[in-house]
């Protein structure tokens, strides 16, 4: 109760300050937008379906790109965790690649795939693949040996062991990495869309700039934050909490 009160108070003060500054008209609205202008832009964007289309396009790219990252990242991570050779070669390379911002892959992507959907997906995959791989690798290494021994002992072999023991057992260890992977994919996608124009939220943002429409810029930014929050804060948090409860890592509340 106290917490919600603090939230309400903080945001009321913030918006009030914004309203006052906008009313004072210190700067022109194309530099400093008004709250009602942003509200109108949000309304208009949803009303003419342009926001809905952008959300759908961006989300589709996210699901495909992130999905690929998770599949390949897990395979790669398991491979690195299980092989000393891969760890010393590929593992080291991946760590050094981590310092490369994912948008740096865009030039390569465009040269390889042209101005296509594939180029954007490539950037998204490169953005999140590393964190999924590294978390899968560390997750696999942290995994108590006892689970795979118990699995083998009960007759699970090869692929069965992977599917029924290794993967479920490492879930709580990799869920943080999966969450981080999603966040990186999201950032890569938006920055990719901003530079490389083909629908999506990033393009909408750049369109606002091109039209000198500050209200739209802010409206789209709010949209991006809201979507990120919904997936990260609601979907992943819930999954994480459920996992922890089931594993007995956190008290069920």
């Amino acid at each position: 109760m106290k917490r919600t009160a603090r939230y309400v108070l903080f945001y009321s003060v913030l918006i009030a300050a914004w309203v006052i500054l906008a009313k004072l008209k210190v700067w022109p609205p194309y530099i400093f937008p008004t709250p009602w202008g942003v509200g109108e832009a949000l309304w208009a964007g949803f009303a003419d379906h342009s926001f809905w289309i952008a959300i759908a396009v961006s989300m589709k790219r996210m699901l495909i790109g992130y999905g690929l990252s998770v599949v390949f990242g897990m395979i790669l991570g398991l491979g690195i965790a299980n092989s000393k050779f891969l760890e010393e070669t590929v593992g080291g390379l991946l760590v050094s690649l981590q310092s490369l911002p994912s948008i740096c892959w865009l030039p390569i992507a465009v040269l390889w795939f042209g101005l296509t959907e594939k180029a954007i997906l490539f950037v998204v995959v490169m953005g999140s693949l590393l964190s999924v791989t590294i978390s899968m690798e560390t997750g696999r290494k942290q995994l108590p040996k006892i689970y795979s021994m118990a699995g083998r002992n009960l007759g699970a072999g090869g692929f069965q062991l992977l599917l029924h023991v290794t993967l479920p057992a490492s879930l709580p260890y990799i869920v943080t990495g999966l969450k981080q992977g999603w966040a990186f994919a999201w950032r890569s996608l938006i920055s990719g869309e901003m530079i490389f124009v083909s629908l999506g939220l990033g393009q909408l943002l750049m369109m606002g700039r091109d039209l000198n429409d500050m209200s739209q810029v802010i409206a789209v930014m709010i949209l991006i934050i809201a979507l990120g929050y919904i997936v990260d804060g609601l979907v992943f948090k819930t999954v994480e909490k459920r996992l922890q409860e089931r594993w007995g890592l956190a008290p069920a509340s």
Binding site: M149, A150, L154, G155, G157, P168, A169, R246, W247, G248
Partner: protein, 306 residues
């Protein structure tokens, strides 16, 4: 076969229901040490022939963990292995389970060489290794699921074994919601569900409080009688070994060798507090003490010299 289908009377091992007269005849000496007793004419369920296990063969710091172990376990026998920590008794179980390979020697099951792991011999780990992402029932079903048993059959078998360990009403719980003793019973049910001929138990009750352990001793003895399984039970608790075993094998400290074998001809059911159990345990403990001292010396030797 369901656990209740076979009852104690049908169980193969005759020594299980040791006669009262036997007790009287050996009233003064509850334990009979028979080092050279001729094996029963049937093929042993488990044979360890000349097992050696050496670590670090290539380096100078070579460690002989197990040194020419020869052991034969009869079908339906309850064998207990005792020894100081670090004598390789857990490793021995891992070898039988096929989770580890010996350097030389062979493990035979029914006279045939054991190949890798197999659900004919299930190990109950000291840490249990129950799967936290599965419910109690799903844990018990795991081995059957890996073997491709149909859902309906899995469920009915799991229900049977959960009833056998009195956990049927907890079937939908997750592992962390259970007490230590209950988890132990889940592990037992999970192992039994694959219907192994041989049950390998690695200090399963070491972490439990005394009351729970007493209860589980009774349950294990009952289940053993009902299912007629062969059990190899590793413990460092000599009393527990005498309480449960038909035979107690004492291993030496590094390298692990069979120091002595004891046949426990005490009537069942036994209890930890029984005087004959305590007397027999004391006798074995005398021998074990020597090995424990050796292990302590190895651990603290350097410090006491200073």
């Amino acid at each position: 076969m369901t656990p209740t289908a076979r009852n104690a009377a049908e169980a193969p091992a005759g020594h299980r229901t040791a006669s009262r007269s036997g007790l009287h005849a050996r009233a003064s000496r509850s334990l009979v040490v028979l080092p050279g007793r001729a094996p029963v004419s049937t093929t042993p369920k488990v044979s360890l022939n000349d097992i050696c296990l050496t670590y670090g063969v290539n380096t100078k710091g070579r460690l002989i963990a197990l040194d020419h172990i020869n052991l034969h376990v009869q079908p339906g026998e309850f064998l207990c292995i005792v020894g100081p920590s670090g004598c390789g008794k857990s490793t021995l179980l891992h070898l039988v389970a096929g989770l580890h390979r010996q350097t030389t020697g062979e493990v035979l099951i029914d006279g045939k060489a054991a190949q890798g792991t197999g659900t004919d011999r299930i190990l109950i780990f000291q840490e249990l290794g129950l799967f936290p992402w599965l419910t109690v029932q799903q844990n018990v079903e795991f081995g059957l699921r890996m073997a491709g048993v149909s859902k309906a059959e899995r469920e009915s078998k799991a229900a049977d074994y959960l009833r056998l360990v009195h956990l049927h009403q907890f079937r939908d719980n997750y592992i962390h919601q259970l007490s230590g003793g209950m988890r132990q019973r889940v592990a037992l049910a999970r192992a039994l569900a694959t219907e192994p001929d041989v049950l390998l138990m690695d200090e399963p009750f070491a972490a439990l409080d005394a009351q729970t352990r007493d209860l589980l001793h009774d349950e294990l003895e009952r289940i053993w009688a009902e299912t007629g399984r062969t059990i190899i039970f590793v413990t460092h608790n000599v009393r527990e070994a005498v309480r449960l075993g038909d035979r107690v094998v004492l291993l030496t400290f590094r390298p692990g060798k069979v120091k002595r074998e004891y046949h426990v001809d005490l009537p069942r059911p036994r209890h930890l507090e029984d005087v004959p159990v305590a007397t027999a345990a004391r006798e074995i403990l005398g021998e074990l003490r020597e090995e424990i001292n050796k292990s302590l010396e190895a651990e603290y030797g350097n410090e006491t010299n200073r």
